[in-house]
Amino acid sequence: MITVERLTRKYGAFTAVDDISFVCQPGRVTGFLGPNGAGKTTTMRVMVGLTPPTSGSVTIGGHHYHDIPNPGRHVGVLLDASAQHGGRSGREVLELGAMTMGLPKTRVDEMLELVSLTPQEAKRRLRNYSLGMKQRLGIAHALLGDPSVLILDEPANGLDPAGIRWMRGLLRGYAERGGTVLLSSHLLHEVEQIADEMILIGHGKIVAQGDKKSLLAGAAGGGASSFVTALDNEALAAALKAKGLTVASAGDGLRVEAETVEIGRTALESNVVLTDLRPADGGLEDLFLELTSETQREGLA
């Protein structure tokens, strides 16, 4: 279990992480989601003591990271897969880790096999690795000490679709065996499929957290929206507006800020034939962009 309590990290006048609190539960994958520069990496670096917090604290299983003896045996960390010596082979990187943690060399072979790096690939120097291979190696390094907590920063970055699927299975299985997983991403689709719990962060602040369902339920101030297409869009739009609903044209049809049932009823009342009616399921993506919009570099269209 990872417990973040009122954590703040300032760099001069800039506040990278602004008074955030959350908990990552064992047996669950927690996704840490936010645009670039939202404070995800800073938060994770504070967790493992690489960055001192300005205020607040993080404990892992009730302990400060600094107080965990041989922490690699308890907490698996992957903060930057590229932060390795380019002149070392993949195997050497793992062997150094195993040596520090006091693990047998067989553990290195097991981990290489687990992340599907072949013996030939393991012999290559890191400067010849693709980002995807570095990520696999980084995950192997994080898992070396058979930890019960995993902290992974952008682990899917650089993995091909098959690799992302593999990692999803790996982390899911890990959590099902009782492990705590925190992984960050700026890509919603990556996290959406793996995470049981999501923490959305923007501008150093947590803007929403919960499982997918509760996030969607609470989305956009509770107002649902739908896409509708009718034989006579103008007539339908007029009828909907007459009810005080917000209507905008979207593609061949309309986007209406209302539940589908409301639109169906309006269509029935005004004798308009519908050809398509469905909830606008941009869902999490919309939510994500909306919640973090103030912090997005690109303005929302």
Binding site: M1, P26, G27, R45, V48, G49, L50, T51, P52, I60, G61, G62, H63, Y65, H66, I68, P69, N70, P71, G72, R73, H74, V77, L79, D80, S82, A83, Q84, H85, G86, G87, R88, E92, L96, G97, M99, T100, M101, G102, R107, E110, M111, E113, L114, H141, L143, D146, P147, S148, V149, G173, Y174, R177, G178, G179
Partner: protein
């Protein structure tokens, strides 16, 4: 994928730390030692240091034999000023800075968050490499002196006293430590190497000029010129009480202060 390799991680909300002992210091030292030679660059730096030491002595031997000069075992050792005297500090620098330039400090310090222990382990590795360099230099100098005795009737005396051997070890370790201190201060390989070279080659000249032009500086110079304070250790005159005082004061300025500031910096710096 072997399932048993991923045995169920500890359940429950609290981490049970009772079964884990802290990483022993000896293991940190072994790991840090391995890091000095497990890359091509690191390995070749060590090999080149040994090769250069041999090359300088062989050149010295050739010149001595051709020109009928009189040299001794101790003179062969003095030639290491141009080999290990030069490269040991660089090894000391890279011990520290490679972690920052290659960003491996992130991994190192997540596996051992007590950074002081890591720095200490690196320092021990540096000192061990210094001893290794001394042993190699003593061996090479012995070979050269043997060869000299075989090739020429002049010189070749075995004149190394225990005291001078101790000085020799001290000199090499100081070189290593100075590099280490500059590296911790700057955490950047090129900058630390440049600073060391300036300290080693430019500063003595400046001190010399300063001493010649400014009267009071000439009196101050022995107390701040760390390099010059070590001269009696290898020129055969031996260290007097005053020499040791100069050595201690200038060493405090050039070795202890950078080391303390540098280590403090490493201990508190944000590791990126």
């Amino acid at each position: 994928m072997s399932m048993n390799s991923m045995a169920a991680p500890g359940l429950g909300h609290a981490l049970d730390l009772s079964g884990t002992s802290p990483t022993p210091f000896s293991r940190l030292v072994r790991t840090e030692l391995r890091k000095t030679w497990d890359t091509r660059a690191g390995l070749w730096l060590l090999i080149c240091t040994a090769l250069l030491t041999a090359a300088v002595m062989v050149i010295q031997l050739a010149v001595v034999v051709v020109q009928d000069l009189v040299v001794s075992y101790n003179d062969f050792l003095t030639s290491t000023n141009f080999s290990i005297g030069l490269l040991l500090p660089v090894i000391g620098i890279l011990l520290v800075t490679s972690e920052w330039s290659q960003r491996t400090a992130m991994v190192t310090f997540s596996l051992e968050p007590h950074r002081g222990r890591v720095i200490l382990a690196k320092l021990v590795v540096g000192l061990l490499l210094g001893i290794a360099a001394v042993v190699i230099a003593l061996g090479l100098a012995a070979i050269c002196n043997l060869l000299l005795n075989g090739m020429s009737d002049l010189g070749g005396a075995w004149d190394l006293s225990l005291e001078q051997t101790a000085y020799f070890v001290l000199l090499q370790e100081i070189g290593m430590l100075t590099g280490f201190a500059f590296a911790a201060l700057l955490l950047n390989s090129p900058a630390a190497i440049v600073l060391y070279m300036v300290y080693q080659f430019v500063l003595p000249t400046i001190f010399g000029i300063g001493g010649a032009l400014i009267g009071w500086f000439e009196d101050l110079k022995p107390w701040i010129d760390f390099g010059a304070s070590q001269t009696p250790m290898f020129d055969g005159t031996g260290m007097t009480g005053e020499d040791w005082a100069h050595f201690a004061v200038s060493g405090f300025i050039w070795l202890v202060i950078p080391l303390v500031i540098g280590v403090r910096r490493v201990l508190t710096a944000e590791v990126k």
